[in-house]
Each structure stands twice: as structure tokens, then as C-alpha cells.
């Protein structure tokens, strides 16, 4: 250990290299440590020729290294040149494995044993993490690899791919794609079934297996790797086979463990939590700073600005204003009162109870994802039945809830500091009531993403939101003149349970009198009739079950199980019973609900012999729909194959209404009893696609549609996250000649999506069009509604909401 650096920067991604070049420009002694043999591994691993986007566009870039939208190769080239030009001290092949010591004298240990001394450390290692390693003997041999760059590079080899997630399957298929390569490819999965991969990938793998191109071994683990051979533990015992190369794709461990081992604390146990940071990016371990994707800022521009800023902070320039200042200024511009950004942030933070626990840095980040809004007294904030998944919080003033759509005099006030709109946040369903400002009011509208981040970083906020939500949900479900005071007992004993798909909350024949309110997700009710499970009904979020046993003092009369992963509020039977004795109207209402459910039960029971086939059909169709994700859909396209003539006019209309690209594949998808669920967005209650979108480009629109805006950077995360395979990554095709020129003169490719060949031939070589994510937006903003439905000549294409899909199921049973 010779020199003690002023700053050691770990990770040469966009954040790290920007930090290092600032340090070089300031003349600080520094070192940039990079695990791989090249800069910026995440970007290095993008697909060749990917168009990298520079969002958000309002944000100015503040870095010694240039960055503008362009091809991956160009950007990496510029960075390489500039890092060299700035004389940045980079050490490649230097993976940091541990950080010991204190501020002023940190000791960084590299995997090769080298020690490096530094006064401060900047962690910029991104979120990629490290691949899970082969644990069996021989797992460290040189022919075991964790990535596969070019499947075409291997010829005549026996290759074992370990791990059958999406990455493993794609690798295996890539290696076996060209028979000319003559590879013998085996894919090994520990589980008997494929649980983590996407349906389309599993299908492709099965097809490759049936075609004899890939050997699939399930329920198998590797037990020994030797040069030229591999030994498996299979369900039928040990098996030793030839093997020239092992590609291990067993997922990767997030870098959190390593970061924590350096003494850095995270905001919570939550999987999506980030390290706790000060406004200068300093972690809870003095002297260790965290920036970039690891700090929760996944966009390249953010990363680079932070790299610049963090070095300025370390160098003593603490008065530096962050580069996102203008964005926040714009957000506060329309609010009354003259405050600067910091004053506004502090004002909102101290006035809104759920924000109290945020640090100033978190508050800043929080406001970047949220909107501050001002409403005049009497102004409507949102209407009943509006879609919306955001949460509102009141900073000053107050609002009122209109309880009765027909009688605007019936209202309940909500005071400053509190929240509203929480049902949309939790269940993703439409707004339950209209909300109006009572006086001049300042609110913060918290996007779903910001709300989730908030809950994972401030546990107190989670509890506060949860209790308010539960109380309001109960008031709303049970209506009947209940006031918050009535619920005190119940709220002292409620529990929120998460139920995974297929698991029951109530089992037929069991004892029990608890009531369950479905808070999120949906449930199906089944009854055993003659040894078979017969489907009784489908309960969307916002329904309750369990009243029959409670009121009738019987055993459970049916099984209620989750259609998809759901959350229920469990209310203690005794407390609820006490409430019912106090509130006869509530009892009366519940008895009416119960009577209609009992009718259905006894109907099925009575008809089980004469109608068994009808009832079966109904059960099967209902199950089929639930299996195909309709349990979490808010609006889904179905094709009645009794009517569909296969003209594909729906696809053509879709393409012609949207820049020439179709967002649905009519023929693909599953079918049961002539009811077909094409590959097209279901507009999920809780869209999986939104989970991991760096620019936050996916939103729920005014009609409940989930759509992608044009800040999409084309990273493909949403495409990977959508379980239904409905997102395509495509560049917009060139403009076609009009319909008349095609009909009369035969110009252009005609209606519908142009062929790739035509697009390629007619593309303007001057403009580079980026591939972006596209999916159904329910034709939002197009008068008349979804083009697919309007353009179907026979009425086969219909769109249905969850409340209605079972009526459709019944209709299409072949019972007529």
C-alpha cells in the first residue's frame, strides 16, 4: 500500500466515470476501480447499436464527460477518449471485495488481494450485482462462464446451460439455433417445473426439445465439473456426461449485501429499498458516498450529474445547487406564495404527516416524481369513477368527499396533513367518490411509483397510509351510515394478509367466522359438488367474504381462493359481530348480499345432475380466463372464435391508428371453448411492466389504460417484466401513402402494418429511429374508442372489464 488517495471511486459506470473525471479536473488524487476490463459495464452490455437516450430532456447535463443521445458505440467511444484525455487514473480488473477502516483511512481490498488506501469512497457500482456462482466442486474451472456474448461463436461443443430462467433459455436456444454449429446443448433446471421463465420462452424451449435440438433436464443439479465432463444429480440418480463448456445463468445477487458489509444502512428491508443518504450523497457510514443507480437514480444523466456533484461536495463545495433545481422550480411555479425550492420542500415535508420522516434529499427525489397542485375552493379534484392510481396529500387547506353522487350536500371533510385517493393507489381501480376543495388548497399528487418508494423508505409512512386506507375502505365497503368511531374496535384487531395465487383464505367445511375484505387482487369462489370444484363467482378487489358462516353460525360453505396474488384485510369475527348488533342497517345489508349468494349456491347444488355439463363448462371457462391473467386485468380484448373470420382487420386498424405498428397479435394466445385471449395488453390492476422503468415512462391514463409515453429509452425492462408478452420493441416505420393512392394507384403497402422489407426500403437514411417499447394504449385520445373493436366486421372482437368477463364466459359456453 503506497499512496493514500483522496477519493476512491468504485465502479466506472456513467456515475463513477463522471465523478472520476471531475476529481481529475479538480486535480484531486483519485482512483477509479472497475471490476471488468472496460468502462461502464452496464452500457457495454447493451445490445449492439442500441440507441441510448438522454432523458429527462429538461435536465441539464453537468459533467466533464460529454453525453448526448446516440449509438452505444459512439457514447462508449467518446467516454473512453475523454477519460484518457482527462488523465483519469483507472484501474481495470479491480473488483472491490471489502471496505474496512474509517473516514480518512479506508482500506479497500480487491479480489486479487491488492489493498488500496483512500480517505473517502464513492460507491457507484450500479444495481447489476454479481451472478450467482456454481457452488459444486469444479465450479471455478476456466470453462465455467457466467455470460454469453455471441452464441454464434461456439462450434461443435457439448455445452451445459445451468438455470432455466429467461436468460438461460435464451442462451440455450441461441446456441442450438443453427444446426450448422453442431453444438450439443443441454439445459438444466433445479426444479421439476419452469417457474421463473416467461411462457413464450418455455414454449420455444419445449419446441426445441421436441425437435431434438436441446436436451432438457429438470429436477437436476450439477454435482461435479471436470475438464471435459459434468456430473448431474438427476431424479434417477447420478449421471456423468461429456461437457466442454458450462454457462451458468442462475440469476444474480443484488449488490446490497456487499454495500451493507461496508457499513452502509438501507432505508428498509424492502427489496426495492435504497441506501440512506444525506443531501450530499453521504451514507450512514461517514466518508462513504453512494451515487447512480445504486442510490436510486437509474438514468444516465442523473448518474453523471451526481458524479460531478458528489466530488464537488467532497471537495468542500457544499453550497452547490443540484442540477434538477429548474425542474423543481417549474413544479412550484404555479403555487401561491413566494417561496424558493428549498422552502417549498420544507413546507410540504413538515405539513404532510406521511412525509415527515423524509430527509431533504429524499424529499427532493420524492418531489421529482410527484406534482404540487393548487386548487381554488369548490374546484373538483377528481370525479367518482375517474381512473387513477395516485395518492393525494393535503399540505394546506382542506377537501371534502361527496358521499352521494346525487346529493352534493352530503360530504365528509378531510383536513390538512392527511391523504386521500388511497384506494386507487392500493387496488388500481377507479375512484370511489368525487373530491372537491373546500377552500383554497395545496395538494401533492403522489404518483404510484413515488408512493411505493416512499413506503419502502419510511416505514412510519407505510403504517400511517395503511391504517387510513383500511378505515376508509371499510367505511366505503360497508357504507350504511358508519362513522370512523364505529370502527375503532375492528381497527384494533385487523390484520392484512398477503395470499399467493391459488391459496385459499377460506376453505369449505372449516370452522371460522372471520370476515375478509379484498383489498388488492381478486378471488374466486368454488364449491365442491359431486367431488368436483364448481366455480361460483369471481370477486374483484373491494368485495368481502365470510359473512355466511358468521351470520348463519355454520361451517364455511364454500372455498375462496386467490385468483392472483392478493391482499385481504382480515377482520375478527367477534368484533365484527359486535358491530352488527350495534348497526342494524349494516346487518340488513349484509343479509341481502348473503341471500343472493345463497341462491346461487343452492341453484348449483340443485342442478348439479341435470346441468353438470353446463356448470362444468362455466367453471372451466372461468378458470381459463383467470389463468390467462384476467384476474388482474382491468380491460381485456377477447375474440369470439365463433365469429372471427381471421381477416385481421383488428390488427390492421390498430396499426393504422398508431404510427403503423400493431399492438396486438390476434392469432397468438390461448383459446378455450372458442373464447380466445389474443396477445394484447390486459391493462393490469398493478402493471408488472411499470415496475422497473428507468425514466418512469409507463402510466395509467384517464380511461384506465396503461400506456408508455415518449420518454421511453428502449431498455426493454417492461418487455421482460410483462408476463403476457404483449410489449414489442420496435422503431416507427416510415409514413405510408394514403388509402386512396393505394386503392386507385396501388402505391404503398396498403392498410395495416407494413412489412419489414417495405419499411427498410422506404426508411429515410438520414434519421435514426430508436426502438421503443410499444403496447396497447386502448386508443386513448381517439374518438370512438378502441380501433380493434370498431374495425371488426363480425363483432368477434370485444373488450370487457372484469365485472363483465364472466357474463361473456357464460354466454360463450356452448350451452345454446
Amino acid at each position: 500500500m503506497t499512496e493514500t488517495y483522496r477519493i476512491a471511486i468504485i465502479g466506472s459506470g456513467s456515475a463513477g466515470l463522471s465523478a472520476a473525471s471531475r476529481a481529475a479536473a479538480l486535480g484531486l488524487s483519485h482512483v477509479l476501480l472497475e471490476k471488468t476490463d472496460h468502462l461502464s459495464d452496464t452500457i457495454y452490455k447493451y445490445q449492439k447499436g442500441k440507441h441510448v437516450m438522454a432523458t429527462p430532456s429538461q435536465l441539464v447535463l453537468r459533467s466533464d464527460v460529454d453525453f448526448a443521445a446516440g449509438k452505444r458505440e459512439t457514447i462508449l467511444g467518446i467516454w473512453g477518449d475523454q477519460i484518457a484525455g482527462h488523465k483519469v487514473n483507472v484501474l481495470y480488473n479491480s473488483e472491490v471485495k471489502a471496505i474496512d477502516g474509517e473516514q480518512g483511512k479506508f482500506a479497500l481490498q480487491l479480489t486479487d488481494g491488492t489493498m488500496i488506501a483512500a480517505e473517502t469512497v464513492v460507491l457507484a457500482i450500479g444495481t447489476q450485482g454479481n451472478p450467482n456462482l456454481m457452488r459444486c466442486p469444479g465450479g471455478d474451472l476456466p470453462h465455467v462462464q457466467y455470460t454469453l456474448d455471441d452464441p454464434g461463436a461456439y462450434i461443435d461443443e457439448h455445452i451445459a446451460v445451468i438455470g432455466a430462467g429467461d436468460a438461460g433459455i435464451e442462451n440455450a436456444l441461441g446456441l442450438a439455433a443453427d444446426p450448422e454449429q453442431r453444438n450439443a446443448v443441454t439445459i438444466v433446471n433445479r426444479n421439476p417445473e419452469f417457474t421463473t421463465a416467461k411462457d413464450a420462452n418455455i414454449k420455444a424451449l419445449m419446441a426445441a426439445r421436441d425437435a431434438g435440438r436441446v436436451i432438457v433436464r429438470t429436477g437436476t443439479t450439477p454435482s461435479l465439473v471436470e475438464p471435459g465432463f459434468i456430473t448431474y444429480d438427476t431424479p434417477d440418480g447420478e449421471l456423468k456426461v461429456r461437457c466442454d463448456r458450462v454457462i451458468a445463468r442462475m440469476g444474480s445477487a443484488p449488490p446490497r449485501k456487499f454495500v451493507e458489509s461496508c457499513g452502509v444502512e438501507f432505508t428498509s428491508e424492502d427489496r426495492v429499498a435504497f441506501p440512506k443518504l444525506s443531501p450530499t450523497f453521504e451514507s450512514t457510514k461517514p466518508g462513504i458516498f453512494v451515487i447512480g443507480a445504486l442510490a436510486g437514480y437509474p438514468l444516465i444523466k442523473h448518474c453523471m450529474n451526481q458524479g460531478h456533484d458528489v466530488v464537488e461536495f467532497i471537495n468542500g463545495n457544499v453550497g452547490l445547487k443540484p442540477a434538477d433545481e429548474p425542474i423543481l422550480e417549474a413544479k412550484f411555479r404555479d403555487l401561491p406564495g413566494h417561496k424558493n425550492v428549498d422552502e417549498w420542500l420544507e413546507y410540504l415535508r413538515s405539513n404532510i404527516s406521511i412525509l415527515n420522516g423524509l430527509t431533504p434529499l429524499q424529499m427532493r427525489e420524492f418531489m421529482l416524481d410527484s406534482e404540487a397542485r393548487f386548487y381554488r375552493g369548490g374546484e373538483v379534484i377528481f370525479e367518482r369513477n375517474d381512473p387513477g392510481s395516485s395518492l393525494f396529500s393535503i399540505a394546506s387547506g382542506s377537501v371534502e368527499v361527496l358521499l352521494d353522487p346525487d346529493d352534493h350536500a352530503k360530504t365528509v371533510p378531510i383536513a390538512a396533513g392527511s391523504i386521500f385517493g388511497e384506494v386507487g393507489l392500493i387496488s388500481g381501480r377507479r375512484r370511489g367518490a368525487t373530491i372537491r376543495a373546500r377552500e383554497d388548497t395545496i395538494c401533492v399528487e403522489i404518483s404510484r411509483t413515488a408512493a411505493l418508494k416512499l413506503q419502502s423508505s419510511v416505514p412510519a409512512a407505510t403504517r400511517a397510509i395503511e391504517r387510513i386506507c383500511t378505515e376508509r375502505q371499510l367505511l366505503q365497503f360497508f357504507g350504511s351510515g358508519l362513522v370512523p368511531e364505529d370502527l375503532v374496535d375492528i381497527l384494533d384487531s385487523y390484520e392484512i394478509l398477503t395470499v399467493s395465487a391459488g391459496k385459499p383464505v377460506i376453505s369449505e367445511g372449516d370452522e371460522g367466522d372471520d370476515i375478509f375484505v379484498i383489498r388488492q387482487g381478486s378471488m374466486i369462489v368454488e364449491k365442491k359438488v359431486g367431488g368436483k370444484n364448481v366455480f361460483l363467482s369471481y370477486l374483484p378487489a373491494g368485495s368481502y367474504v365470510g359473512e355466511m358462516a358468521l351470520i348463519g353460525s355454520t361451517r364455511r360453505t364454500a372455498t375462496v381462493k386467490a385468483a392472483i396474488k392478493s391482499e385481504v384485510i382480515k377482520l375478527q369475527g367477534a368484533a365484527f359481530k359486535a358491530l352488527l348488533t350495534r348497526k342494524p342497517q349494516l346487518l340488513a345489508r349484509i343479509k341481502t348480499d348473503m341471500a343472493s349468494r345463497q341462491d346461487l349456491n343452492s341453484f348449483v347444488e340443485a342442478k348439479k345432475d341435470s346441468f353438470s355439463s353446463v356448470v362444468d363448462m362455466y367453471s372451466n371457462v372461468a378458470n381459463f380466463l383467470v389463468e390467462n391473467g384476467i384476474g388482474e386485468a382491468t380491460d381485456v380484448l377477447l375474440i369470439d372464435e365463433n365469429l372471427c373470420v381471421g381477416c385481421d382487420n383488428c390488427e390492421k386498424a390498430c396499426a393504422d391508428s398508431h404510427e403503423g405498428l400493431s399492438r396486438l397479435d390476434r392469432e397468438a394466445g390461448r383459446t378455450y371453448a372458442h373464447l380466445h385471449v389474443p396477445t394484447s395488453c390486459r391493462h393490469c390492476e398493478h402493471p408488472h411492466c411499470m415496475a422497473d422503468c428507468p425514466p418512469n415512462a409507463i402510466h395509467r391514463g384517464p380511461d384506465g389504460e396503461v400506456f408508455i409515453d415518449d420518454t421511453c429509452i428502449g431498455c426493454g425492462n417492461c418487455q421482460r417484466n410483462c408476463p403476457y408478452g404483449v410489449i414489442r420493441m420496435e422503431a416507427e416505420p416510415p409514413k405510408k401513402p394514403g388509402l386512396l393512392s393505394w386503392m386507385l394507384l396501388g402505391l404503398g403497402p396498403g392498410p395495416g402494418e407494413p412489412s419489414r422489407k417495405w419499411s427498410y426500403k422506404n426508411a429515410d437514411p438520414q434519421v435514426e429511429k430508436a426502438k421503443k417499447a410499444i403496447k396497447c394504449d386502448m386508443c386513448s385520445g381517439i374518438e370512438g374508442g378502441p380501433a380493434c373493436v370498431r374495425a371488426c366486421p363480425t363483432g368477434a372482437a370485444i373488450r370487457v372489464s372484469p365485472e363483465r368477463f364472466l357474463t361473456v364466459a357464460r354466454l360463450d359456453g356452448d350451452g345454446d
Binding site: A207, D640, L739, A791, P793, T794, R804, L811
Partner: protein
Amino acid sequence: MSGPLQRQTARVRSDGTHEGFLRHASFRWLKIAGGISLIALLGYMMIDVQPRHNGGSWYGYTLGTIGVLLILWLSMLGVRKRKMSRGHWSLKAWTSAHVYLGLSLVVIGTLHTGFQLGWNVHTLAYVLMLLVILSGIWGIIAYTNLPRLMSANRDQTTEAQMLASLRSIDRQLHDAAQPLGQEHAALVQASLDQDPFGGGIGRRLSNRYPGCMTRYAHEQILQVTGSQPRVDDDPLEKVDSLLGRKRAILARTRKHLQLKALLEIWLYIHVPMTFALIAALIAHIVSVFFYW
């Protein structure tokens, strides 16, 4: 089926949410078209035009004008179908109206002629109109019967998947045939070389492919393998089972293409006849006004 479930079904059917084009809006266009035909017929019987009913009487002119306008409007379906404009229209409603109003032309057109037919351009227009309508009826029959057959036949596979599995079987056949003797290898090669869907529109519509080399090769090889005991790694057995699979996939794909063609073929009569009809109509009208 009867009882409550059926009542429910009936209610769903009539609330306008999910009905095919023939039932659209509880047969609204059937009722309208029926009404129009009835009025035209009653008018024909009750109104006493002199000297007799024909296209040249005021009643004949009225029916003729309605007929021409209807035909022009019916032809616009081709444009409507392809012009994805905004607005609250639905192609289903258009098709429904098209079908029933198109059928009412039989009544309107026939009454317009006053049953005066002959070997002239006027009758030509009338005959063409009937041909268009007949092909339309054929289309309706196809549209009501074939979709469920197509759905059942493709059984969740797409056409692209069918073709892809054929290609993949062909690749395997190619590999598996390498160890075979010359005679058998030639059989397999013939199956690989043949375009299994070739032979023109007749083959496609009838779904009969008498010269199918895959079937021939399979039958020939079966004669050998059928009489032999099964040995696991006999290359001929492997080719036998591959050919069997190829035949099954071919059968499904051919059936699919047949149904698809049947759903489209009538339009190749319907649409050109429409153009011919419009041309004949123009001739008919011009000749009426200038030479009558």
C-alpha cells in the same frame, strides 16, 4: 339448456354488449330492411301506374333511384373497412346493415324492373346485381359456419407456428435421412423438395393433394417398417415417425389454409362483380336517359 342460466344468457344477448353482426342491435337492420321491402312490395301492388309497372314509371324511377343509391352505399363498405378514421362507428354495424339492406335489393331491384327482362344492358345490370347478392349470401354462409371449424382445427397454434414446425421437421428429416439407403433417401428428398401447398387454388379449396410426396414416402417406408420388429435406433424407424408427424402437421396446415381460402374466395367474386355491376349500372342509366 334451460332454467336460470339460460334466462341470464338471454338477457346478456339482448343488452347489446356482445352480439355478432347478424344479430347486431337485436336484428335492427333486418327489421329496417324487411320494412323497406314490405313497403316497396305493398306500394307495387296498391299503386296503379299506367300503362303498367316498369322502370320508367314514377314508381319505377323511385325504386331505381333508391336501388342505385343503395348499391353505391353498399360498395362503400370496402372503403369503410380500410379507412381507420376516428368516430363512433363500428364495422360490425356497417356489415349488419350491408347484409340486410343488400338483401332488400332483391325486392327493390326486381320491382324496379317490373318483371320486364330481356337480352339487353338493363337486364345485364339486374343479373349482375343478383350475382353480387348471391355471392354475398354464400359469404354469410361461410362466415357463420367456418370460423368455429378454423378455431377448432388450429387449436391454439398460429399459422406461423404451423409453418415453423414444418420447417423444423424438414430439418430433422434431412438429418435423419443421411444414413438411409439410396432408395429411401430419395423418397425423403422428394418430400423435402415438394411445395406441400402447391398445385393451385383448386387443391387449396378442396384440400385434396393426390400427389403428396410426404404421404407417398411415408406409405412406402411403412411397408418396410410395418413388417419389422421395432428396434430403437433404426434410422428408418426414426424417419418413419418423423414422416408421420409431418403428415399430421401438413393435414392441419392444409385444413387451415383451406378454411382461410373458403372464407375469402367468395369476396373474389363479390368485389369484382360489384365493379362490373357499377359499370353496367352506368351504362344502364346513360342509355335510359339518352336512348329510351
